[in-house]
């Protein structure tokens, strides 16, 4: 549905997006992650044809951006970062305007406006002036505007930024609902949002793709050697470390701040039973033993701070 090939954008000798290639199939929700200045917004702006690429090709719904930019835009619903709206207009007027410029036939406009007002929970403010609305409502007005023409592709640039937790939950629920019948390209900084909403994650850093996969796939790929987190009740640290020396297959131990120990294990063995019997033999109370799991945060931080991240390896 969205096909981006060798896309690059250079601003005054500085490559902001550097040879990016990816494909989003129909119906997929793709999370676009990256630190500030990574090139996410620039890439999205090029896909929506707002910016002209320095190099590369963009195809959306089979339409090439160079051949028919207006035709391509007919298939896209775009919510830019910071949700630009006309504060002097009423919600109804704004949606009518969006319907007009998005070529919604006149006879369908009332039904379409009613539909997006209901979907985005705007009924109570539909006659209100946009400038008087809260940020959460304005976000939903922007989203309603992007949905007015029933686009096949939705491109949303940080749709929950600046919202309070309740508003974030509402928008997130809406995104999950939209993901069922749209192809969505979603940029965000909120990693739990990606785990809730996205089928696939694409991490971009310094204009290049450094990881591409499902949230679970990325976590397991980045997890490295298996780890165990262990805690005993009231046992001095030196005694525990001494006891661990007898374990075979233990590669390293890290003492955590809260009396926990992180054990790096040989992937071929399982240390859970030996640790259990080690505690029994010594009469120690085992409070906790759980396998370590890399979070998406860990993956994000590692990939976007590690200068040696190898895109080919991670992709």
């Amino acid at each position: 549905m969205i096909e981006v090939e060798s896309l690059s954008k250079v601003f005054v000798d500085t490559p902001v997006v550097d040879d990016v290639t990816f494909f989003v199939p129909e119906g997929q929700v793709l999370g676009f992650l990256g630190p500030n200045g990574a090139g996410k917004t620039t890439a999205m702006r090029m896909i929506t044809t707002f910016l002209r690429p320095t190099a590369g090709t963009i195809t959306v719904a089979g339409i090439n951006a160079d051949d028919d930019p207006v035709g391509l835009r007919r298939n896209i619903g775009y919510l830019p970062e910071n949700v630009p709206l006309y504060p002097e207009m009423r919600v109804n007027e704004y949606l009518r305007f969006r319907a007009d410029i998005e070529e919604v036939p006149h006879r369908h406009q009332v039904a379409r406006i009613d539909d997006v007002v209901e979907r985005c929970l705007l009924s109570e403010v539909r006659r209100q002036v946009i400038g008087t609305l809260s940020k959460g409502f304005r976000q939903r007005v922007g989203l309603a505007g992007a949905l007015i023409h029933q686009p096949t592709v939705l491109i949303l640039d940080e749709p929950t930024v600046g919202l309070d937790p309740n508003q974030i939950i509402r928008i997130r629920e809406l995104l999950v609902e939209l993901g069922q019948d749209h192809t969505v390209l979603l940029s965000t900084h909120i990693l739990p949002e990606v785990e809730t909403v996205c089928d696939r994650v694409l991490i971009i850093n310094r204009g290049r793709i450094v990881a591409d996969g499902t949230p679970d796939g990325l976590r397991s790929r980045m997890a490295g050697k298996p780890t165990l987190e262990v805690a005993f009740k009231d046992v001095p640290e030196d005694q525990v470390l001494g006891a661990f020396e007898s374990l075979t297959g233990l590669l390293g131990v890290e003492c955590l701040d809260d009396g926990h120990f992180r054990l790096e294990c040989d992937p071929t063995g399982d240390l859970r039973a030996p640790i259990f019997w080690l505690a029994v033999d010594r009469g120690w109370t085992l409070l906790e033993m759980s396998p370590g799991k890399a979070s998406l945060e860990d993956v994000f931080v590692r990939l976007t701070t590690d200068e040696q991240a190898d895109p080919a390896e991670e992709a």
């Binding site: 775009y78 630009p84 002097e88 969006r98």
Partner: protein, 247 residues
């Protein structure tokens, strides 16, 4: 066409929901009323030359031009600059609308607002008809001239608004551009030798164009000049908007 109309309608909502619009309209009408009064007072003087009041009103005084030079930049300054400042240009340029449709819609809205500014001055014609016979031909030609000069000036202002996201700078650029166009006859007078260039500059004298319109003379050369220069600036405005995409 429908999309251009939608942009025009939205722009009119923006104009008429802004206090600046009412301030401009009030100031414009107050000052035009004062000029009308001064013109009548001047023509009532037995020693003054014989002239139709509306002829003097349209372009017979420097006030007419001063208003246009100041009011038009105020009308056009926010057309594109505001969209760029608030980011709404991104919404427009990522919908199936062309740059040409955006410029046309916004320019037409400015032209409608400009025309609406002048409409109440039709009352002066009604007042004059109560007290004397007046020839409506020159009056209508005068209003045609007002609209045509406005077309040209608003085109320049629209172009200036595409160059920056700052209202004030857009207004200053428009003012400078309009003064430059208005000052063309001064350059012509500085040229000593008769040449094609001098003759061409002579045809660009907006003051004499407006004097002709006010006398009821609709010279197609003037009409073509006003329309073509206005359209040239609208074309430049469209290209300027397209070029922003490459940045």
């Amino acid at each position: 066409m429908l999309k251009t109309l939608a942009i025009l309608r939205r722009e009119l909502i923006a104009y008429f929901s802004s206090p600046l619009a009412y301030l401009v309209m009030t100031g414009f009408l107050l000052l035009q009323g004062l000029i009308f009064y001064l013109v009548l007072a001047f023509l009532n003087n037995p020693g003054s030359q014989t002239m139709a009041p509306m002829e003097a009103f349209f372009g017979g005084t420097i006030f007419f031009w001063l208003f246009l030079l100041f009011v038009v930049p105020v009308i056009t300054m926010r057309l594109i600059a505001e969209e760029r400042k608030t980011g709404t240009i991104e919404v427009l340029l990522t919908s199936p609308v062309t740059e040409g449709q955006i410029i046309t819609g916004k320019f037409l809205a400015a032209l409608v607002f400009y025309t609406a500014l002048w409409l109440p001055t039709g009352l002066y014609v009604v007042i004059l008809r109560r007290y004397s016979d007046i020839d409506l031909g020159p009056v209508l030609a005068g209003y045609l001239g007002v609209v045509l000069i406005g077309f040209l000036f608003l085109g320049v202002g629209t172009f200036a608004s595409t160059l920056t996201s700052n209202h004030l700078i857009a207004a200053i650029l428009a003012f400078v551009g309009l003064v430059a166009l208005f000052a063309v006859p001064l350059v012509e007078q500085l040229l000593v030798s008769d040449s094609l260039f001098k003759a061409a500059l002579g045809h660009m004298d907006l003051w004499s164009h407006m004097e002709d319109y006010a006398m009821g003379i609709v010279d197609t050369r003037h009409v073509v000049y006003e329309l073509s220069v206005g359209l040239l600036f609208l074309f430049l405005a469209t290209r300027s908007l397209e070029m922003k995409k490459g940045r």
